[in-house]
């Protein structure tokens, strides 16, 4: 390996022990015989790597946890207060028997007329009517008799000068 390649590997890989055993061995052997690369290694480790690796560990000031926990507690309290208010409101409503009766009747009314007895929409009624007509038409057509039932399909054929011939 050339010196430039060795120095490149010293910069990244060798200094962090992130090279394979073979490459590490090659670099070490090269360093034994090349004083320029050895100087590069020493300067690199001394000026570039070592100051960071030996940096004093830092710890956050105690006030940081105090702030975090205060915000969390405040948030909890706010959420709890909101739930408590809803609970109080519901309690005050349900403490009056008249209000409970009125709400129960209203709920039953909504259930019966809004969900169970709800009339079909107009489109659904039209589709249902059309399907019933078709069913009747096919039932009679099956018997082989010429009968006019007044269905929309028959009207369409008659208006278009189509004739059913047997």
């Amino acid at each position: 390996m050339k010196c430039a390649e060795i120095r490149d590997l010293i910069l990244v890989g060798y200094a962090d022990k992130e090279l394979g055993r073979l490459s590490m061995g090659r670099i070490k052997r090269h360093l034994l015989k090349c004083k320029h690369c050895r100087r590069f290694e020493v300067l690199m480790l001394k000026n570039v790597v070592s100051p960071f690796r030996h940096a004093d560990p830092v710890t956050p000031p105690s006030g940081v946890w105090h702030n975090i926990s205060t915000i969390i507690y405040e948030h909890h309290e706010k959420a709890q207060r909101f739930l408590d208010n809803i609970k109080d409101d519901l309690d005050s409503i349900f403490s009056h028997p008249v209000a409970v009766t009125v709400m129960t009747v209203a709920l039953v009314f909504i259930l019966v007329f809004g969900v169970i007895l709800r009339p079909l929409p107009v489109e659904m009624q039209l589709v249902n009517g059309y399907l019933a007509e078709q069913e009747e038409f096919l039932r009679i057509a099956d018997t082989g008799k010429e009968v006019y039932l007044g269905t929309a399909t028959e009207d369409f054929i008659i208006q278009g000068n189509f004739f059913i011939s047997r």
Partner: protein, 188 residues
């Protein structure tokens, strides 16, 4: 970052503040350290730490343990820190340039001096300030926090070759500046 037991994560996800505090005690230092080294500002770092932990508390229930908790926290922290960096870079570029000029002058004067912790931290900031945010985050994760290339790639959602390239460029920049300082020192 130390591994956090699943029972603690589940407890926190169910709103248990004591369990959440346990998570904070384990991951807080890491989050704050990345934020501080990325933003170079104590208040910003505190803001990032606070935001990240509030997000964790809010989203922990939906986390479902699909990804590793560690990677999830790394990603959130880096994104929050990068957001602050981008927000501030436009505002304070000129001020920082001025500060950098002053620091370069000071640094070459005191290379051999005994430097206390605060000065060491300032030097670190000075070095990191020479890099763009993408390079800076890779150096912080690799050399300060000790993450592997694989972990960095996962946290930043980039491939391992991109991690290597960013690390290479960052180290070359730092090496070039460091060499310049040594040469200056040797000339004196």
């Amino acid at each position: 970052m130390q591994k956090i037991p699943k029972s603690i994560l589940k407890g926190a996800a169910n709103g248990n503040i004591a369990a959440f505090e346990h998570i904070y005690r384990i991951a807080g230092g890491f989050v704050y350290s990345i934020a501080l080294h990325m933003t170079h500002n104590n208040e910003d770092a505190q803001e990032v730490t606070q935001d990240v932990f509030l997000k964790i508390f809010k989203k922990l229930k939906g986390f479902y343990f699909r990804a590793a908790f560690k990677t999830w926290v790394y990603r959130m922290t880096v994104n929050a820190a990068l957001d602050i960096c981008r927000k501030h870079s436009q505002l304070s570029r000129k001020a920082r340039e001025f500060e950098k000029m002053l620091k370069i002058k000071n640094l070459s004067e005191e290379v051999h001096g005994i430097i206390d912790k605060r000065e060491a931290h300032e030097h670190l900031e000075y070095w990191l300030d020479l890099l763009n945010p993408d390079q800076r985050v890779v150096i912080v994760l690799r050399d300060i926090e000790g993450l592997s290339y694989k972990e960095i790639a996962r946290a930043l959602r980039i491939n391992r070759n991109t991690v290597r390239n960013r690390l290479r460029r960052a180290r070359l920049t730092l090496y070039a500046v460091g060499r310049k300082e040594v040469i200056l020192d040797e000339v004196r």
